[in-house]
Symmetry: C2
């Protein structure tokens, strides 16, 4: 049995998230169906990250087993041709049989896009959260710096997850503005359920002055989800890259 690792990109707008569900279009469902058609046997894919409804990916990593001898490169091309336009197979290669894209991931990089201007955009609205009120970049940077490093992120974890530990390490938190587009990059060794979006929702509260920057440290220390800001919408979130050893 061979194991293949696949890098995929997708526009999550019209999908109910990565994870397969009955009666809903999902990324996993599309990938498994298309792979089964190509390889001639049922396929189950594992993913680095089970992205939520509406969340996009530039570098999602999935893995699956097959005994079909098709070269990895040809498979990526054939798969890309057959997948719906909203999902694209960028690359494929053979990996060790015990490779697990979620367990073996060392770092994940997410980007959150905020379109920060009065007028909305039909083109960027799919890919960014539209926030009309002008955000204070300096306050957001100040608040964000508190989150860097190793912390218990329980206050930034939505209920419904069953992880053993809520301690994670944020290696990088960059905030940049390009014209009307405001981007928050967060790289960590792992993310709790909706952690990236709760962090963004909280930083935006700071950015429009509803919360002082130093309150973010108190929220972190509290471990209490109710003290953090709301969960930012899925449309602004991008899984950019998953790194392995």
């Amino acid at each position: 049995m061979r194991k293949l690792r696949l890098t995929v990109q997708y526009d999550g707008t019209d999908y109910a998230g990565f994870q397969i569900q009955p009666n809903a279009a999902t990324i996993q469902g599309e990938l498994e169906q298309t792979l089964a058609d190509l390889l001639g046997h049922p396929v189950r894919v594992q993913a680095a990250s089970r992205t939520d409804a509406g969340v996009h990916a530039l570098g999602q990593v999935v893995a699956f087993e097959t005994d079909n001898p098709i070269p990895a490169e040809n498979l990526a091309k054939a798969l890309d041709d057959k997948l719906p336009v909203a999902i694209s197979a960028v690359a494929a290669h053979e990996v060790a049989g015990d490779f697990d894209p979620q367990r073996d991931a060392r770092r994940k990089l997410y980007c959150y896009q905020i379109l920060n201007r009065t007028v909305s955009s039909p083109f960027l609205g799919r890919y960014a959260w539209h926030v009309s009120k002008c955000l204070d970049d300096g306050a957001i940077c100040e608040a964000g710096s508190v989150l860097l490093g190793r912390h218990d992120f329980a206050a930034f974890c939505a209920s419904g997850s069953s992880v053993r530990s809520t301690v994670r390490t944020i290696y990088r938190l960059n905030i940049c503005r390009e014209g009307d587009m405001f981007r928050i990059y967060v790289e960590a060794d792992g993310f709790l359920y909706k952690m990236a979006r709760i962090m963004v929702g909280t930083l935006v509260e700071v950015g429009w002055g509803r919360m002082a920057p130093d309150v973010v440290g108190e929220i972190l220390a509290s471990g209490d989800r109710r003290q953090a800001g709301p969960t930012a919408p899925g449309c602004g979130l991008w899984l950019v890259e998953v790194s392995y050893d």
Copy 2:
């Protein structure tokens, strides 16, 4: 009665074109319904260009009448807030009662986007025609230059239109490449039915070597639609700007 001119942008992917149709989502339908809700009376909009299914707009111009005294600026903002995310109202202002956005248009600028690389893109696939085979920019430029100026474009007009004259003037035809993205800008005093897309379909035939650049002059002279290339897909076409005196 006041007449208002409105600049709108839209992602045409999920619409059956601009023009209103029963049982299909259209840009005109969404605009008229949202305007009627806002203004409190039925509204009929006229447009500079009845873009086809899947075609996008950065600067479509529409006009309509109302006796509602709402300031134009407030209307644009309120409309933008109420329109579906795929349609955006950029600006509004009052115009003379006899303004007709189609008849009075002096120039229209379209851009056609081609994603010219092996791998498709879930994000650009909505907004560009994906052409895997490498296009010969030089051959396309050479062929395109023949189309500049005042000509009878009957060979580049799809059947189903009832215009009196098929003579149009192309003021500008720019071809540029930015990485994998190949763009053809065409500005003319007007466009025949599917003219921009048939021109692009023909230039792409030249670009991948199925047609010699100098054949385009012969096609133009023939006035015969069957000699031109296929109609390029709607997804790559953008109505960029409509100019008035």
